[in-house]
Symmetry: C2
Subunit: 230 residues, 2 copies
């Protein structure tokens, strides 16, 4: 097994990277294929598909010890069998992500909606086959009863203006929405979700900026400042 | 990477194994998990999902030379970039198959609809997430214009009765339908689809029997005989 390419992504750290694809629809990613695979030929015909599977390695797993049960954040501390989850901590550290193909530029794919950290090694690309793979009424077990909180994001006009300048510079017009969609997924680990930790500052790195924010309540996030790295 | 288990399947050879999952809905497969993964814990919660992803190795690839373009049977001889196809011949020999979970029996999953050859090493199981992964209106590129032939299967009463006995013995009541669905996918390689090869006999191995058949026309298959191996 050898990567066919390495992902460039707007998400730079594990913290803040969405746990499933599609949740942050305007997340940006780019995959440049290894030249020795002859991308100019190997990609022919792919441009007419709207969605792709990426099979990738969870390369940032730090703990490689196997646990048969895991604690997905949505279960609020309860555990479940690892194969009933999409946890990165699995016997073989392989991930599966459905992404939108925006366009192909030479040897590179421009993708949206990916839940991948910058630097993720990609093992394969496969076209999405809706006739076989779109099963709207599939049963989803423990995910059925999970409620999601509607979280709001509070911005100052000053920070909004700063994001607007930033978005123009990096040519990503939907940057403000990308940041909001990322934060309302609530990237905090469970231990930081206790009420006593409100007003504690967290930071998520998106593109070349650190977004500092805090929870004012379970359903309200305030953006405190944005520190640019470049 | 180490397999989490090896598939037992009704399909014993590459020849005749469906090229996508779900096409032979009553295809039978069983996956017994490696004991060292503690299946009794690792499978908890999976039983309430109806569909699963299997990530597997194409272990029967004989030619490991990389080709950037491939010739999928549906393109009738034309070639296309390997990443626009689900061909088994890819840079990393990883397959992705959506299957139906019939039930869990201890350390084993009973599956239907798989397109996997007996003996396929499985690398991962992931639950199917319809909210994210069911995109009915995804665009499918070169697959759009492909027409499928409606193929009929002709059985003698004698062979039908033989299949009925067989199905009772192996406890697979839908065996006749499984055989029909497998054959109407037309397992013949393109070079054997020429009119001059009609009436040539082919055989597909399903469970412990060889189904000998021939094409009488482009849309009619005759079952000639069934040879039992045990």
């Amino acid at each position: 097994m050898e990567p066919i390419g390495i992902i460039e992504s707007c998400f730079k750290d594990r913290f803040g990277t969405p746990r499933q694809p599609g949740l942050v629809s305007n997340a940006w990613a780019r995959l440049q294929l290894d030249k020795k695979l002859h991308p100019e030929q190997a990609l022919i015909g792919l441009e007419k598909f709207s969605h792709l599977w990426l099979i990738f390695l969870f390369h940032q797993n730090t703990n490689n010890r196997y646990h048969a049960k895991v604690h997905p954040p949505r279960l609020q501390g309860k555990s479940i069998g690892v194969f009933a989850t999409r946890s990165p901590h699995r016997p073989n550290p392989i991930g599966l992500s459905l992404v939108k193909l925006e366009k192909i530029e030479g040897d590179s794919l421009i993708l949206s909606g990916a839940d991948l950290i910058d630097g993720t090694p990609i093992l394969d690309i496969k076209p999405y086959l809706p006739e076989i793979e779109a099963i709207a009424d599939a049963k989803t077990g423990w995910l059925d009863g999970i409620e999601t909180r509607e979280i709001q994001v509070k911005w100052s006009e000053e920070i909004k203006a700063q994001v607007k300048d930033w978005s123009l510079r990096i040519h990503h017009p939907e940057l403000q929405s990308l940041i909001e969609k990322t934060l309302i997924l609530d990237p905090r680990p469970l231990v930081y979700r206790d009420q006593s930790t409100y007003r504690q500052t967290h930071a998520v790195r998106i593109f070349d900026g650190d977004i500092h924010f805090k929870f004012l309540s379970e359903t309200l996030i305030e953006i405190i400042e944005i520190k640019k790295l470049s």
